[in-house]
Amino acid sequence: MKNEGTKVSRDVLDSFLLELKRGTLVLGVLTQLATPQYGYALVVLLEDKKIPVEAGTLYPLLRRLEKQGVLQSEWETEASKPRKYYQLSQYGKEVYDQLCEEWFGISDHLNRIIRGEV
């Protein structure tokens, strides 16, 4: 009975966690794109920094962000194999800055509420 209870709450917790990660995904990706990166390098970078992202989610996301004008890309063909490098566009930088500010606001407020300081 008790086991069943913990199992259900684990499922619920997982789904909330998934939502939370999905919500911060774009911000996490944008943090690494001040300099040009290609898809797989970005996966490794984010994983090293403890913000793991599914490769299958990341590659399409990069393309979508490019379509929205947030990223710009360039094919690097001089290396042994061609790679597509992504980087924040001018517009993307502005978006990123504002997004960061919002993030600080949200996380500050939430942290303070959680800690009972407000």
Partner: protein, 337 residues
């Protein structure tokens, strides 16, 4: 290498042209990077397998590239679609059953097997037709979802003023009534259509003679069958009318306009059917007179009926249009509702 090729192909085949080429090229170089990034002590084939499994189903990646799910009939219509589909298919099967039963009563040859196989194939064809037409209607709705035929646009700015007032009782259209309307008109028109198609000679005056049922056909079989598309269109229009009622749930100007247009078309079609003097069987009245030993002049009475049938259809259509117009204007304006 084989698996990588197949994987890239499985994702890319959902795209075309330059887009496909780009997606495939990028995905391939990422996959190769991932494989190289793995522990080099593992055999190559195993690294490929692990990489592709990690990427997940190609369908999902392709969907991500497409930027979200796409529907033939999306969540906003799906429930209604299912409901209408069930109702109409059930009613079509019902209408066909009644029509085939009528036909069976008049079969002199008592072998039931051909009749039964006729019945089954009619059921199958009917259900298929109903399914196809309803699906077509809803797919069209889904496609035009961004234009605003039946739903108000979701993305336009709105104010509290846009909230429709709770409709007065008279302005509401009962859901049950619409559903019953769908059932009844499906039963009726399916019956008519199946009869015209498979046993048009049975549409007429039926009487019993020496314990045998005899029919005096009222219609000219071939002319009636030639007008089949008209009947089917009238049927579909009447369904569309009831479905619009169901969607709106209350009288509005828009619903009123839709009702008026649909009624206008089906009235014109009905007039075209019955204004054609050739649909009537030539000596229906004479036969009735002769067979039934009537004492009054049925022939001129029948002439009168034929003369009045078109005006009655027009009058019925006009009444419906006037009602729709009245209710649309009376209850359609927000301030007045």
């Amino acid at each position: 290498m084989d698996y990588i090729d197949r994987y890239v192909y499985a994702v890319g085949k959902r795209f075309s042209g330059k887009q496909r080429q780009e997606i495939e090229q990028e995905l391939r170089s990422n996959i190769e990077d991932m494989v190289e990034g793995m522990d080099e002590k593992e055999p190559y084939a195993q690294r490929v397998e692990a990489t592709l499994m990690q990427l997940g189903k190609p369908e999902n990646i392709a969907q991500e590239y497409q930027g979200g799910k796409r529907y033939l009939i999306g969540p906003s219509y799906y429930e209604t679609y299912l409901m209408i589909l069930k109702i109409v298919v059930a009613a079509v099967l019902g209408g066909i059953s009644v029509a085939m039963l009528v036909r069976a009563i008049f079969v002199t040859d008592k072998s039931l097997l051909p009749l039964f196989s006729d019945y089954l194939s009619a059921l199958f064809a009917g259900a298929l037709q109903a399914f196809a037409w309803i699906t077509l209607v809803f797919v069209t709705l889904e496609r035009s979802g961004q234009t605003k035929l039946l739903t108000d646009a979701n993305h336009e700015p709105w104010s509290l003023e846009d909230l429709p007032a709770i409709p007065k009782k008279q302005a509401r259209i009962s859901r049950t009534e619409s559903v019953v309307g769908i059932i009844l008109s499906t039963l009726f028109y399916t019956f008519i259509i199946v009869m015209i198609y498979s046993a048009p000679h049975l549409l007429g005056l039926i009487y019993s003679q020496n314990g045998e049922l005899v029919v005096i056909p009222m219609f000219q079989v071939f002319v009636l069958q030639g007008l089949m598309p008209f009947w089917i269109t009238i049927f579909i229009l009447s369904l569309l009318k009831e479905m619009a009622n169901l969607f709106f749930g209350r009288w509005t100007i828009k619903l009123s306009l839709i009702t008026i247009v649909l009624t206008l078309i089906s009235t014109v079609l009905a007039v075209m059917i019955f204004a054609n003097p050739e649909i009537w069987h030539l000596d229906f009245a004479q036969q009735v007179m002769a067979q039934m030993n009537l004492e009054f002049d049925f022939i001129s009475f029948w002439e009168q009926i034929k003369r009045w049938i078109v005006p009655i259809i027009v009058l019925a259509g006009a009444l419906e249009i006037i009602e729709a117009l009245f209710k649309g204007i009376r209850y359609g304006y927000k301030k007045d509702a």
